[in-house]
Amino acid sequence: MATKILTEHISTPGIETFEVYRKKGGYTAVEKAIKKMTPDEVVEEVKKSGVRGRGGAGFPMGMKWSFLAKPEGIPRYLVCNADESEPGTFKDHYLMKNMPHLLIEGMIISSYALGANKSFIYVRGELMYVIRILEKAIEEAKAAGFLGKNILGSGYDLELVVHPGGGAYICGEETALLESLEGKRGNPRNKPPFPAVKGLYQSPTVVNNVESIATVSWIINNGGEAYAAVGVGKSTGTKLISASGHIKNPGVYEITLGLSCDEFLNSDEYCGGVRAGHRLKAVVAGGSSVPIVPGALFLKTANGEDRLMSYESLSDGGFVSGTMLGSGGFIAFDETACIVRNTWNFSRFYEHESCGQCSPCREGTGWMQKVLNRIEHGKGNMSDIDLLVDVSKKIEGNTICPLGDAAAWPVASAIRHFRDEFEWHIKHPLEATKPGAVYMGDGVLV
């Protein structure tokens, strides 16, 4: 049985309440951290765990914490990024609505470790019902003495504020999120200075994803080394994978990092395989922005080795034949999916979500969307394919924040792996624009 670090009790009736969560061992990690450990010792355990940021970037969380500047007399902030908006990703939504106290408990310990007395959970505004669940959980934790003034008689004070967003993918980028939290438009900031030095209200700030913070209680209860013993290599611990698309069992699964991609896709414990009567065509392994790969390259690397659900294995082969674990937004496409249409859809998303601050992204996302739109609707030219690659290259790496890369990669990878499908659309516009028409290439399906 795989280790369940986050979701062991998620199906327990009433687990969203303080009472049931507490009975299942909840808040013991707060007691341990605050009564028996110094903040630095908590940071040390998280460092030892090797847990990497679960929002998508995969940067080691303990290291991020250790960068936090600590000038005298200036408040420090912890901000939880719950602006989950990457297409294909719904794990934080799932975790927060079912186990709000797991996040609250993690926030208390993490805030203590960082020396923050006021911490924020920035939740995308669409999830207002989840915000109400979190606020209720905070009230319960406060009533039980785990939040507020003088927590557990330790002298440590902490206030948690749940802050709603207003509908903007870009606010998942940490500096855009901080701008937004300050009451402004979500335009990402130039770095440096990094948030660890000048973040929220120009004060030292750490921004962590929901799932990252939710791991902290287990790490404190069991030790960083125990966490690091789960998983494979530098992909320690477990990861929540949001699975959607053409699979038998869409949903959120907690996997041990290093699980084989084949088992994840085909085992009944997870996705249950491609939906009945269909075959796998392509996979987006880590949210819409990571490179799309043909099914065969998801299951095996270019060298023929079994691909694993880990940061390293999924990126094996670079962008030539690999992809990324990203946020764990797994999307499966069977033979009924049109890659051109999907790429156009994703491009439209990035055009819509570009904040407009950097020209390559503002202009390039719109340009790619328009070119893909005309290919999809039977009006493309053969030169459009190289034009798309050219535009994507001119966006990539040339913007303040990673939204530009996120917009470029899906287009570049779709053309890299499915070029013949784009060509077919251009050469056979009448056929390609018939309702439900999909290109059936040779040897793509698994």
Partner: protein, 165 residues
């Protein structure tokens, strides 16, 4: 809508709530409460008319342009009048894979309106939105705070009928 100027004010309960929201943020950083208060305003006034935005600015002691800037950046704020029920349906990839295009085309036909429009009886407004973070439970839409998931044509019919009563 310009004649409503003098009528724009929160109910006493919402005004108290707005003050409590402002107090959540550090002294001098009351502007942080802008979106919480705009959500509260939209709950009462249905959409962000200029008068509503000016009222929000007055509560926060900031200039009106600061509210306009935010209202025009974030997609959840309605800048035009809307119907009683605003249906915000997801148009992004994963919902499309689950049959979203067919289901939402059925929804448009049923209501007889296109995206961005409101039915003649003022009951429904359709708004196309990006990913709602419910991809494995799609196709989905939301109406106010409620998520409607695993949608198909029949479910859409039932929801519309229920809300039309």
């Amino acid at each position: 809508m310009t004649d409503t100027n003098t009528k724009i004010s929160f109910t006493p309960e919402r005004l108290a709530k707005a003050k409590e929201m402002i107090a959540r943020y550090p002294d001098g950083k009351q502007k942080s409460a802008i979106m919480p208060i705009m959500h509260l305003a939209q709950e009462q006034f249905a959409w962000m008319s200029q008068d509503v935005m000016d009222y929000v600015a007055s509560l926060l002691d900031i200039t009106p342009i600061e509210v306009y800037e935010v209202a025009t950046f974030y997609t959840m704020f309605h800048l035009e009048p809307v119907g009683k029920h605003v249906i915000e349906y997801c148009r992004t990839g994963p919902c499309v894979l689950m049959g979203g295009e067919e289901v939402f085309s059925h929804l448009k036909n049923k209501l007889g309106i296109k995206k961005g429009e409101t039915t003649a009886d003022g009951l429904f407004t359709l708004k196309e939105v990006e990913c709602l973070a419910a991809c494995g439970w799609g196709p989905c839409f939301q109406i106010r705070e409620k998520y409607y998931m695993h949608l198909n044509n029949q479910k859409v019919d039932e929801i519309i009928e229920e809300l039309s009563k």
